[in-house]
Amino acid sequence: MEPKRRLWPILFWLLAWQGGSMALAAAYPSGGLLLASPVRAGLRLLELLPEPLFWRAVGNSSLRILGGFLLSGALAVGLAALAAGRPWLQDLLVPPVAVVKAVPVASFIILALVWLDSRSLSLFISALVVFPPVYLNVLEGIRRTDSRLLELAQVYRIPLRRRLWGIYVLQALPYFRSASSLALGLCWKAGVAAEVIGLPAGTVGERLYTAKIYLQTPDLFAWTTVVLVLAALFEKLFLTAVNALAGKAGC
């Protein structure tokens, strides 16, 4: 989409938000508390930026949530590669993957709180939600490998390393790319939700919870914006790296 076409809907909804907030503030004495305006949220964000505690929260949350994404992503790719040629392993993984997909994240968060300390919670939950889409997509990519190319590799006696790169990686990379994009969004949502419930000290989730307790809606929107920006930023960075790899591979 052209930048102009992307911009106007955002401006429209920001104006609608501003209008809604102003209308609530005019209708009720404490209307401003119910829906902070984008201007107030933006100003609050600017106030937060110089605070060391802000960066500590961003750093802690990013480290754990992205750590979960990377660990789980690597495990999912590895297991998909192993399972591709082993139907018994695919069958074995069907129930846990289906359970992780179907069970509400909140159930896992509460269960994980029993097992783990709150600091490891977001890492665990983010890893949990990342696994199914990455595993299933990469497995599908490998499954769709062109059998005619495998025959070519057999006849030409192409060594395993080149075969892996030229056939399997080339085939699975587009699937991995779309799964990663989806999983990065999911891991931020689930990871921050886990922090809000587990309240590990010095995290974005804890700050969101504090905003809720004290009805600090400008803080709530400011921190939500931070999560959105972080999610978009890491998605962009990760996909740029994957695209560079894909470009090198020619897909």
Binding site: R148, L149, E151, L152, V155, I158, P159, L170, G250
Partner: protein
């Protein structure tokens, strides 16, 4: 070195395709001529070890093969150089010259999905000829080529034919009248020398 097949049988879903074929393929080109669907590709696939025969023996077939398949089997997202590196590792020094003789460029940066069908066919042939083969299977190698490019390809195949048996399956063996000919009929046939 020669390749022999003896009493080769192959059927798909009970429908026989090869019915006791016995033939010897010496060094050089042997043209395998037959209408579509009469066992040319099946014979080559059995020789390449991609399928098992129902009965019969293949002698000398466990050598190092290269092939041009019915389809090009190229990596469409890679350029020519990437495709040759994938199949051959570091391509031999004669690669740019051989490509140029067929009107192709080693340094062409375009992925093959942007190439014409004829260009891809020629690249598939170059890939096979540059491979370190002891026997070569060519399944309809001239598909999609005009007369001029067909003639150029044939020159390259002719230059390579002293390296080992070259089995060239085609519905059209024009220009190969001096080569042994196996005409498959009803799943069998005899190699006739010119």
């Amino acid at each position: 070195m020669e390749i022999q097949v003896e009493g080769l049988w192959k059927a798909y879903d009970g429908k026989p395709v090869l019915t006791g074929l016995t033939a010897v393929f010496p060094v050089g080109i042997t043209c395998i001529a037959a209408p579509s669907g009469t066992g040319k590709t099946t014979l080559l696939r059995l020789l390449l070890g991609l399928e098992r025969s129902d009965a019969g023996v293949i002698r000398g077939g466990d050598c190092r093969w290269a092939a041009v398949f019915q389809e090009n089997r190229l990596l469409e997202n890679l350029p020519a150089a990437g495709n040759l590196r994938f199949a051959l590792g570091e391509p031999p020094p004669e690669t740019p010259g051989m490509l140029a003789s067929l009107g192709l460029e080693y340094g062409d940066p375009r992925p093959l999905r942007e190439w014409s069908g004829g260009m891809k066919r020629r690249l598939a042939l170059v890939r096979a000829l540059l491979a370190p083969w002891e026997a070569l299977a060519l399944d309809e190698p001239f598909t999609g080529l005009d007369e001029e490019n067909r003639a150029r390809c044939l020159v390259l195949i002719r230059e390579a034919e002293t390296r080992g048996p070259v089995l060239l399956a085609s519905h059209d063996c024009t220009g190969l009248e001096d080569a042994p000919l196996l005409r498959l009929e009803n799943g069998t046939g005899v190699v006739r020398r010119p």
